[in-house]
């Protein structure tokens, strides 16, 4: 384990930034945080997490896929892809690190999504252990240890220092590149922090939430549950939950005619939108109940069925904080699983 004095933090960012772009959580005017590029003078946010998840950095909300030039009846396809450059995502929480695994299984399964893969391969993830989880946190439900985040490098921030531990080859190379700024350290302070945080995690209001009622193979059992009617009745059908979710990955592909050509781009889409499944001949999910059910069934049943039991939720709590009507996956899980 290596140790970086917090006094050297800016030197560290500057040193890394010489060769790679660093993205880290920074505060916004309204008090929330977002991932932004580090530049001289950028302050690292103390916020527990960002409103938008770091999935943006691999799977941006909008991205151009290709361009077309048309002339008469002829079409030319222009491949505008560029290999990503190396970059560092700094301060990713354990839940969000886990979300990358969820996304990987979609985008890196055959046929591999080259846009996503290129960024993923060039990213170094420096994950940060939590010390002050919020009441909306429930990552433990999904077996995530917030005190021991995965990622290429795990980091622990104490009052005076940042402790760093490499988990992968990429991570080791990264630590090596900043060796001059860090020193060897024992794990005492980190261990103490972990114990303390673990105690807090146990006391969180959602600590006893379980996934027992869910998982692959439960489609038939849960599909006709009257809960869907009841819980979806005031859903607004907006896309807030899906857009702040670190694991939601549905997208749309659209064309934009610039007047000089056509750009085909993709953008996030939401299964909560009424247009999501609309075809020329009709729509197979006509009511908000069906769309609402799709979202939660996908996260808690369909996805685990296809991915050896891995749930497509990481307990980050963003949807709990942001849903305009405060309806969320925890309420659904508790209602179906039996409120304790």
């Amino acid at each position: 384990m290596r140790k970086l004095s917090l006094d050297n933090l800016n030197k560290f960012f500057a040193a890394v930034a010489e060769s790679k772009t660093i993205y880290l959580p920074v505060d916004q005017k309204d008090g929330s945080a977002k991932y932004a590029k580090w530049a001289e003078g950028t302050e690292w946010s103390n916020a527990l997490n960002t409103v938008r998840s770091p999935k943006d950095l691999f799977f941006p909300q909008t991205e151009d896929l290709m361009e077309f030039k048309t002339e008469g009846k002829n079409i030319e396809i222009i491949d505008i892809r560029k290999e990503s450059e190396d970059f560092v995502i700094f301060g990713v929480r354990a839940c969000d690190v886990k979300s990358f695994e969820v996304l990987d299984r979609v985008f890196l399964s055959e046929p591999v999504d080259s846009f996503y893969a290129s960024r993923r391969e060039h990213a170094i993830i420096v994950a940060l252990a939590c010390t002050r989880p919020s009441e909306t946190c429930f990552c433990t439900t999904f077996g995530i240890d917030a005190t021991e985040p995965a990622g290429d490098v795990s980091a622990w921030k104490t009052d005076s220092a940042l402790y760093l531990k490499a988990n992968t080859e990429k991570g080791e190379a990264f630590l090596k590149s900043i060796e001059a700024l860090t020193e060897d350290a024992d794990t005492a302070e980190v261990d103490a922090q972990k114990t303390k945080t673990a105690e807090i995690m146990k006391k969180l209001p959602l600590a006893d939430l379980t996934t027992d009622a869910f998982g692959g193979g439960k489609t038939e059992e849960l599909w006709n549950n009257p809960v869907w009617d009841e819980m979806s009745q005031t859903c607004l059908g907006c896309g807030t939950c899906t857009f702040v979710c670190p694991t939601c990955q549905c997208y749309d592909i659209k064309d934009f005619n610039t007047g000089n050509g056509v750009i085909r781009y993709r953008c996030w889409d939401s299964c909560m939108y009424s247009e999501f499944t609309r075809m020329a001949h009709g729509n197979n999910r006509l009511s908000q109940k069906e769309r609402f059910r799709q979202r939660f069934m996908h996260k808690l049943v369909y996805y685990p069925e296809n991915n050896e039991g891995l749930f497509s939720c990481v307990g980050c709590g963003r949807c709990l904080a942001k849903c305009p009507i405060s309806m969320n996956i925890v309420k659904v899980m508790k209602k179906i699983g039996g409120d304790k």
Binding site: F256, T258, G259, N260, G261, I263
Partner: protein
Amino acid sequence: MQMKEYKPLIVAFCCNWCSYAGADLAGNNRLNYPADVKIIRVPCSCRVNPMFILRAFQRGADGVILCGCHPGDCHYTSGNYYTRRRMAMLFSMLDYLGIERERTRVEWVSAAEGAKFAATMNDFVEKVTALGENKRLEDLRCKR
């Protein structure tokens, strides 16, 4: 490198009954006004939806002017009265968002006012030229 002289692109929505005829008259009378004014004929100034104005800017317009019959003279009795309120509100909103107010204008031009049409366009183009390119309400994709 020689600097190319900046010429703004102006979109003019002209009502079919008055302003479009006014533009025609300006042409017939050989009155000069810049060729950078692109006229879009609409059945009534009231046909112009706020989205038209924004889309004109998106597609590269540097200024948008809306011309209709004089209040009281609308072919459809009251269309331009509604336009007047709508555009007043819309342009005030654009101004509120920090978009230069000289880029938008409403002008009443009758079929007999060829000279006014030409003068209005000359004046508008001059004002927009002074402002330079539209940067605040542009869609970069359309400039590739």
